[in-house]
């Protein structure tokens, strides 16, 4: 392709993103190092030395990582099962998987309130079965947030993984079997490593999604603040844009750090991924 054509094709999109994303983000990050016209780290110092800020960051990270791991654990077997089905059944299950994605996160959080509440569905069932004497207190805890987030993002990881699993050459599995690998060994030694690229994409989507989720923690998390509600509170309620910008920068940095750690782990599992 000629250079000129290439530029012509890439430029509009690139300009658009540059003006409306790259520059604003760069400026946002830039302003956090400027206070009264001079360069400073003080904003970050305050943030990182403050137990309160750090506990919010910690909780958010914990919840998002837990969500990501839970999604993988729940999603992988399901994706594996779906990918082995015949095409008609496969399509139907995939549609059912995608369907929750079409429903607003607000509504999905609502239904979890109905389910997880003190007198909610879950406790009703548990109490009436005599499995518990006291109702479980899940709603308004990080657990509730995690459940809500898993519900939100599980479809994403399933759909992504089904795509990857479908592309694995079935002969590789047969080759492994003929070399003496049991079904479990085939899964551990061949399927899993080969899924790493898809797993990465899926995990990143889930992690970023839950790290930045706003609605679900706000509705299910009770008094537990997470970083996105904190950012929102600072930007909108308190109008503290300096702190909001610092939080934004930290969120970007944390996201990239986590993604690159994930990449490292993935590389260990499958150096060719």
């Amino acid at each position: 392709m000629k250079k000129r054509t290439l530029y012509l094709l890439l430029l509009p999109g690139l300009l658009f993103l540059t003006i409306f994303m790259v520059v604003p983000i760069a400026l946002t990050i830039g302003t956090t190092f400027l206070q009264e016209g001079s360069f400073t780290f003080s904003g970050y110092l305050t943030f990182f030395t403050d137990d309160y800020f750090m506990s919010i960051l910690g909780t958010t990270l914990r919840v998002s990582l837990l969500t990501t791991i839970t999604c993988i654990i729940l999603g992988f077997p399901v994706a594996y099962y779906i990918s082995k089905l015949q095409s008609r059944k496969k399509v139907i299950l995939l549609l059912l998987t995608i369907f929750p994605l079409l429903t607003s996160p607000v509504v999905r959080s609502f239904s979890w309130m109905v389910i997880l509440g003190k007198n909610g569905l879950l406790n009703n069932v548990l109490l009436s079965l005599g499995l518990r004497q006291e109702p479980l207190e899940i709603l308004y805890t990080p657990t509730a947030v995690t459940i809500g987030l898993v519900h939100l993002f599980l479809p994403l990881i399933i759909v992504t993984l089904v795509g990857v699993l479908e592309n694995i050459d079935q002969d590789l599995l047969r080759a492994a079997e003929s070399l003496g690998a049991s079904k479990v060994a085939v899964f551990k030694k061949v399927v899993l490593p080969l899924c790493v690229p898809g797993l990465m994409i899926g995990s990143i989507l889930v992690f970023v999604g839950s790290f930045t989720a706003y609605t679900t923690p706000a509705l299910l998390g009770g008094r537990q603040r997470v970083i996105s509600t904190f950012l929102y509170q600072n930007a909108i309620t308190l109008n503290d844009w300096y702190l909001a910008s610092i939080i934004a920068t930290i969120m970007i940095v944390v996201t990239f750090v986590v993604i690159s750690l994930m990449n490292k782990a993935a590389h260990k599992l499958n150096p060719k991924g």
Partner: protein
């Protein structure tokens, strides 16, 4: 007693029979090729033996034990896939060591064995490479090494050389045969390439639509195809359907439109009533019209098409009993519409069912 024995096996995909009442016996240490047109069921047979596929009916005996229900990973058969099926996430070393690791072998032992097998397949120094970083022939050899190292009781090859260029193919097939004989591993080999099958095998099975039409040693198949299908498949392009046949001890007289032909009786053949004669384009002798023509096994004809093939010319010759394809290595080509004499050597013309 055969090492491996398929007895009246049937396989169907979507209710369509692929193999039906299929029988095959293989003796220990032998290499047997399956040869046949695309879609005839070669891969299906291999997959059945490997255990990737379950037979609908019939028995699969191995070392006289019923193997029908033995799971793939308990069979200890090596499978070399058409597309190699190397693990893309593992290095050459790890690919080859895969089977040994599953057998919980000590690290030192694994290293020793891998080193030895890599030497056999001539891949010393490539241990750390990944499959994507190898040429076709090298991948091929890794696949073979990976199958060999587990010291399988049976080795199954599915068109292992189909993706290689001519020179590499020849080298590799010599290599495969050498290793197979050296280690004495019973082998089933599938290929499209006839020369390959003939050159590598102890026995060749010619398959057609899910049945074996002929199973014999390569030379017998080549020289004495049993059926018209086999003959056609292995290059007998010319067929003559005779009107009459008179058996004279070692010789058989055949008649068509006043033309007389004779063939030698082949003792191994059971087709005592056949009237179809077959001959290769290479074996018909072409002579200028001016030369003398014998009464028997000879025809007048006219050149219709002439094609240069490299090692000679191919002619389409029109005769009173039909068109014949003839290959000749002569220096001076015959020209179009030239009249010629065709001779059908008695010992090259065969009768098929």
């Amino acid at each position: 007693m055969a090492l491996l024995s398929l007895q009246n096996v049937s396989v169907a995909y979507n209710k369509q029979d692929i193999l039906q009442d299929f029988n095959l016996n293989i003796e220990k240490g032998k290499l047997i090729s399956l040869l046949g047109p695309s879609g005839c069921g070669k891969t299906t047979t291999l997959r059945l033996i490997a255990g990737f596929l379950e037979a609908g009916a019939g028995k699969f005996l191995f070392q006289e034990k019923d193997y029908t229900k033995v799971p793939v990973n308990k069979r200890n058969f090596g499978f070399v896939f058409q597309n190699y099926a190397l693990f893309p996430h593992l290095s050459v070393f790890d690919n080859v060591a895969f089977g040994l690791r599953l057998r919980k072998m000590s690290k030192a032992e694994i290293e020793k064995r891998v080193a030895r097998i890599l030497e056999i397949v001539n891949l010393v120094g490539f241990e750390k490479r990944f499959p994507q970083e190898l040429s076709g022939g090298q991948r091929q050899r890794v696949a073979i090494a990976r199958a060999l190292i587990i010291e399988p009781d049976l080795l199954l090859f599915d068109e292992p050389l189909s993706n290689l260029d001519a020179n590499l193919r020849v080298n590799m097939r010599v290599e495969i045969r050498r290793i197979q004989q050296e280690l004495g591993i019973t082998t089933v080999y599938v290929s499209h390439d006839q020369e390959e099958c003939f050159s590598i095998s102890d026995q060749v099975a010619i398959m057609n639509k899910g049945i074996i039409e002929q199973l014999d040693d390569p030379a017998t198949i080549y020289k004495h195809p049993k059926t018209k299908f086999v003959a056609d498949f292995i290059g007998y392009k010319n067929f003559i359907t005779f009107d009459e046949r008179i058996d004279h001890g070692e010789s058989i007289q055949l008649l068509i439109n006043n033309h007389r032909f004779a063939v030698k009786r082949y003792s191994g053949a059971g087709y005592d009533a056949s009237l179809i004669g077959a001959i290769r384009p290479d074996h018909i002798v072409i002579k200028p019209h001016s030369e003398e023509r014998s009464d028997e096994n000879s025809l007048h004809g006219t050149i219709k098409v002439s094609t240069f093939l490299g090692r000679g010319y191919q002619y389409m010759v029109e005769t009173p009993i039909g068109q014949f394809t003839v290959n000749e290595e002569t220096e001076k080509p015959y020209s179009i519409d030239q009249d010629v004499i065709l001779e059908f050597p008695k010992e090259k013309l065969v009768l098929v069912e």
